[in-house]
Amino acid sequence: MRIELIPRTDPSPVARALAPLAALVVAFLVAGLVVALMGKSPVSAFEVYILQPLGDPWSLRAMLVKATPLILIAIGLSYCFRAGLWNIGAEGQFVMGGIAGSALALATHGSDPGPWLLPAMMLAGIAGGAAWGAVPAFLKVRFGVSEILTSLFLVYVAELFLDWLARGPWRDPGGFNFPQSVVFESAARLPEIPGLDRVHVGVVFAVIAVVITAVVLGRTLFGYRLKLTGDAPRAARFAGFDARRTTLIVFLISGGLAGLAGIAEVSGQIARVIPDISPGYGFTAITVAFLGRLNPWGILAAGLVLALTFIGGENAQILLRLPFDLTVAFQGLVLLCVLTADALVSYRPRLVRQAGARA
């Protein structure tokens, strides 16, 4: 028995739009099966993961905070993925952004830095992430090294660097030997949005990134160039678009946004440097980008959905004693289902019973 794929001559736009939803449903069903195999009720798991957080104002606000890094990073990644480039090291760019911004916060600690500090920290975060993202891009355009492996290995390097800082030079001497820095002064912390308790203004950055990206992709030559480079590299070359420049630019954008997400998370949420500032946002954001079909508004929605699984995952740890790894597995499953659903929009599968001479 084998599967035969028949190209759809006219892929339906409705199917294209619904594919991510179908993928989510399949992923939920499989996850439910896993939960049942672990001897827990899938129904109560769904309730704890999804329904309870949606009905609780505190959880909804927490969801906004979790969605912020996911959306920022995924928006950046969408530039890379549209150009056909695989930046899978956003986690490292996130960490380096957090480090670069925190360096300013810690350097000015105890002095009276004035109102320029926060903007400077955000810019430093963007620069730190962009610099880290520039490395694989440079190695690709200069030496032809695949960006996939280099960007991924740089994640480990960034994480170890942060670990060293938090345990070594940046450790708070009065902190009873805990591996963490001093708590940032209020001048170095992103303020809350008025009226939204515990939600920092990083949320606004994410929304701005979505809007700007929607304009750039829809209405500028750069957006068109990006799409052409990804879909038809040869045609893009003939049109005079420089693939090397595009590569560098999209990695800078992607790294910069991941870096901004990193410093926003440290400054707005954690408020100090610790060895582990991300529960894998950089990797989850890959799922967010594809679940959102690389479309900025889609990413906004997908970011909220995956943020919900983070909140639900934390709930389930406490209420059902389901390990957080279930959330990670679910996120991987969603990505696998989304990519498959994407392919199925272009091809109609048909099960062929007898083994033919050709497969």
Binding site: P7, L149, Q331
Partner: protein, 305 residues
């Protein structure tokens, strides 16, 4: 046994999981499929091997379950990228994320447990060779399996008709299809072989190398195995050399940490990753762009009728 011999011995042991996983990935890539899920398949292999070995108190059952887990993960990948022509890079990444998460779920009850030491099988005469004899020939059986895999795969690819077909499918799937070769079927087998190897590599980690299971114990080894295939320019014997170089880097790094070298332990731990990046760059400079990569690597194939 001298200290030098002891270090050589640990280098060979540290190289073995990298080598086994890399050989599996090499076969899949030679058939034209880029599977970035090695890390996830290896994690699943490690946890299922340990869980089964602990439950049934049998290393052999553990190894079989580890390979089965890797093979099943690979079959899932094959269904997505070969059955439904999904994007290979993305699906591989998804497989890694999924495998790391699922392995954590399965392994949670086994944290803190240990397995007894796996007996070494010294090979008479050969193990008495000066310097390298002990390191190469007084190892556990899986090390010999790894050596056998290298020789077997090298022979298969270079000297057998099926190996030639597999290579031609990876080189140009359109021509291979036109010649009547079963492109997708051979790719499915190659991918599953890769999964069995990754599962075996994971089993080696949890049953022989550490003899316990802990979350994320693969620690990027699956990714290094993928990088090794690139270093090796898709040739099995060079994968052996590359794996030994990496094993050496890992072991020296551990010795440096133990010897309290005046460098931060994190810098030493980062060294293998930085070295991997540098090696990729140096090889690209020497060889030019991606020489040796199978022509159809990573591109989906949908036969027209």
């Amino acid at each position: 046994m001298t200290t030098f011999e002891a270090i050589l011995f640990t280098i060979v042991a540290a190289s073995t999981p990298l080598l086994i996983a890399a050989i599996g990935e090499l076969v899949a890539e030679r058939a034209g499929v880029l599977n970035l899920g090695v890390e996830g398949m290896m994690a699943m292999g490690a946890v299922c091997a340990f869980a089964a070995a602990f439950t049934f108190d049998s290393t052999l059952v553990g190894i079989a379950m580890g390979m089965l887990a890797g093979g099943l993960m690979a079959a899932l990948f094959a269904l997505a990228v070969l059955g439904f022509a999904a994007n290979q890079v993305g699906a591989g990444l998804a497989l890694t994320i999924f495998g790391l998460g699922l392995s954590g779920l399965i392994g949670a009850p086994f944290v803190g447990q240990t397995r007894p030491r796996v007996e070494e099988w010294p090979i008479p005469v050969l193990s008495d060779l000066p310097l390298v004899g002990h390191a190469l020939f007084s190892q556990d059986p899986l090390v010999y399996v790894a050596f056998g895999l290298v020789a077997g795969v090298a022979f298969f690819l270079a000297r057998t008709r099926t190996g030639l077909r597999l290579r031609s499918i990876g080189e140009n799937h359109v021509s291979a299809h036109a010649l009547g070769l079963p492109v997708l079927r051979m790719r499915v087998y190659a991918v599953i072989f890769g999964g069995l190897c990754a599962g075996l590599a994971g089993a080696y980690l949890s049953l022989v190398y550490t003899r316990f299971w802990s979350p994320n114990m693969t620690a990027g080894r699956g990714w290094i195995a993928v990088a090794l295939v690139v270093f090796a320019a898709w040739r099995p014997t060079w994968a052996l050399v590359g794996a030994l170089v990496f094993g050496t880097a890992t072991v020296l790094q551990l010795h440096a940490q133990a010897a309290q070298v005046a460098l931060p332990s994190q810098l030493l731990a980062a060294a293998p990753y930085i070295a991997t990046i540098l090696a990729l760059v140096l090889l690209s400079i020497r060889r030019g762009r991606a020489v040796g990569a199978p022509g159809s690597l990573g591109t989906p194939f949908v036969p027209d009728r």
